[in-house]
């Protein structure tokens, strides 16, 4: 792996006695795209503000290129931020906003002009130099905020839900553009979002956050396919969590009894003893329907169509719920209908229950 740019070491922070960050650690490599994923109030923004220097941690250190910057003011850190509300200076033109940081550094005039033109080209806003922020659309403001933050070529760029205020179509487009921009510039991105799809699309690594802690840090594939806990499984993969009891474990597979029926799951590295309670994460698209007598019997409770997927809510014999999903509109299922469900053994993952 390439060299480490940013290190967070056991950061703790409380506001008015309420702990917001409970000892988080993270290493970010040069040019890496790391997403902090979590619901609102989990401490994502506070983490970002601590990296930027806008907030001081109560404990722990922040290292930038190996140098301790925990007590360094924000203006002396080689880190820039794209704020959630863009925070463009309303009294300055687009060009003045972008060149702000260069002017503070007293760069020569020609260099500033070149850098501004380049930054505007990068975000496809050439020709907007003399507009005021008030005359721009949300998407354009977003681009100016990005141009302003990257014009200085910081080592790390922090982005606080930068696409939160944009509509879905523009969001998708900007996601791709941002990712391309990041690869082009080779800057380390620390990106905040509460949208798991966005995180999975863009990131090299995802840090799933909950209650001021990182629950799991890993590549999108790791977090999606091998969730460590039930929270990660639900939040990232919208997975079902099934409770059961271990029957046997051998050859990388574990057999468990769920809702009175024997089922199989991937065991991974974990040791399982018979009789031990187990929780299995199972994503809805991995639930298969089977002929009667070959899986867990279930009753269709309701059907709904959303986002190109048909979601089928099922009830298992022990009263627990299971959601299955299918592409397109499947007409053949009706509420009250009895069927059986099963899945490929490797589809179910044992997780630690944390929610």
């Amino acid at each position: 792996m390439s060299q480490t740019i940013l290190q967070l070491q056991n950061i703790e922070k409380s506001f008015d006695g309420t702990p917001v960050l409970r000892g988080i650690s993270l290493d970010a490599a040069a040019g890496e795209f790391i997403t902090l994923l979590g619901s609102s109030g989990c401490g994502k923004t506070t983490t970002l503000r601590i990296i930027a220097g806008l907030e001081c941690p109560d404990a722990g250190r922040v290292l930038l290129e190996g140098r301790d910057v925990t007590d360094t003011p924000p203006n002396k850190r080689d880190v820039n931020t794209v704020f959630q509300n863009y925070a463009l200076f309303p009294h300055m033109t687009v060009a003045a906003n972008i060149e702000y940081s260069l002017k503070l550094r007293r760069r020569p005039k020609e260099e500033i002009a070149r850098a501004v033109a380049q930054a505007l080209e990068l975000v496809q806003l050439t020709g907007y130099e003399n507009r005021m922020p008030g005359q721009l659309s949300g998407g354009q403001k977003q681009r100016v905020a990005i141009a302003r933050a990257v014009v200085n070529r910081p080592r790390v760029l922090l982005l606080d839900e930068p696409l939160g205020a944009l509509d879905l179509q523009l969001r998708r487009q900007m996601q791709l553009e941002l990712k391309a921009l990041q690869q082009q510039l080779g800057i380390t991105f620390i990106y905040i979002t509460h949208d798991q799809e966005e995180a999975l699309t863009m990131s090299d690594r995802i840090a799933v956050m909950r209650d001021g802690q990182f629950v799991q840090i890993g590549t999108p594939a790791q977090v999606y396919d091998d969730p460590l806990t039930s929270f990660v499984a639900r939040f990232v993969g919208s997975a079902n969590i099934l409770q059961g009891t271990v029957v046997a474990a051998e050859g990388g597979l574990v057999t468990a009894r769920v809702a009175g029926c024997p089922v199989c799951a991937r065991a991974g590295q974990t040791e399982f003893r018979p009789g031990q309670p187990i929780a299995l994460a199972l994503r809805s698209e991995q639930v298969d329907f089977a002929p009667e007598g070959s899986g867990i019997p279930a009753v269709v409770k309701e059907k709904s169509f959303a986002g190109g997927m048909l979601r089928i809510a099922l009830e298992l014999p022990d009263g627990s719920r299971l959601v299955a999903s299918r592409h397109g509109i499947d007409q053949s299922l009706a509420p009250g209908q009895k069927l059986c469900v099963r899945w490929a053994p490797e589809a179910a993952v044992p997780v630690e229950v944390d929610d």
Partner: protein
């Protein structure tokens, strides 16, 4: 038209509703515009020998202003107004700025603390300053008790006393104007400036000061204009030593009974202040004075 009923009920579009505005227009015409026109006309008329005016056109009243003694009064007034406005700016801007950064409770408390003294008549509060500033008054007693001074300072009826009175009387306008500007400011802009490499001072001068400029300028207008005309402060705290345009007008009207000259002085004063407001509009591109909602 489904909206018809609603449209008809809208007060201002109703046929006879304009009648309710008549008192307002009458009030403005009779009590605001009328006296102004009367004053303008008066300033071009001739003073009668004993009492009143003769309706005879003259420019003498305006020429009169250019006599050194009167011109000097204008200069003195301008100087005092500038000094007071400067002092008020130095005290009021930081005051309003920090007030905007208080908690909601703190803001309420400070607003109340600023407003409550104004429930008392301003003349009575001025007499309070006499008690503080007079020879052997409160200030002298405190300073002498602390052994900072040996004998009374005799501050009352001096120029500094007038300045203190003016600053005291007008400070709240600056504070509230700056406060209302700073209160609306998006503080994340300051964080953005810091993030982009600005020191606290650089962030203040490039962002905060620029964005609170409308409040600052309106505070300047709101203090500079009255300080040109607050004659009673100069009279009460300055004795006869400090003569301002305001006191000159009052003297000409009530003592010398030279109404046309008093009117001409008033017209010039009004022109000066209108000029200031015009400048303000030019600079800020607004017609609204911040802090006067």
């Amino acid at each position: 038209m489904p909206n018809r009923k609603n449209t008809r009920r809208t007060p201002l579009t109703s046929r006879w509703m304009w009648l309710t505005l008549v008192p307002l227009y009458l009030f403005t015409l009779v009590l605001v515009l009328g006296p102004l026109v009367y004053m303008l006309v008066l300033s071009f008329e001739t003073r009668a020998d004993m009492w009143g005016v003769i309706p005879q056109f003259t420019l003498a009243n305006y020429q009169n202003i250019f006599q050194p003694v009167y011109l000097n009064t204008f200069v003195q007034s301008l100087k005092l107004a500038l000094l007071c406005t400067g002092l008020i700016l130095l005290i009021g801007y930081p005051f309003g700025y920090f007030m905007a950064r208080l908690s909601p409770r703190g803001k309420k408390f400070m607003t109340a603390a600023l407003m409550i003294p104004f429930w008392t008549n301003s003349l009575i509060r001025l007499y309070g300053w006499i008690i503080v500033l007079r020879s052997g008054g409160t200030l002298d007693k405190v300073l002498m008790a602390l052994h900072l001074t040996q004998r009374p300072l005799k501050l009352l009826y001096t120029y500094p006393a007038v300045v203190v009175g003016m600053v005291y009387a007008l400070l709240q306008f600056m504070i509230l104007a700056v406060y209302s500007s700073a209160e609306k400011m998006d503080w994340s802009l300051v964080e953005a400036a810091r993030d982009l490499g600005a020191s606290p001072a650089q962030a203040f001068f490039t962002v905060t000061l620029k964005l609170t400029m409308p409040g600052l300028l309106s505070g300047v207008i709101l203090t500079f204009i009255p300080s040109m005309g607050l004659f009673f402060i100069a009279d009460i705290l300055g004795g006869n030593k400090v003569v301002l345009v305001g006191s000159l007008i009052q003297d000409q009207l009530l003592q010398a009974h030279n109404w046309p000259f008093a009117a001409a002085l008033s017209v010039v004063l009004m022109l000066l202040t209108s000029l200031m407001i015009g400048l303000y509009k030019r600079v800020t591109h607004t017609t609204r004075l911040e802090g006067l909602l």
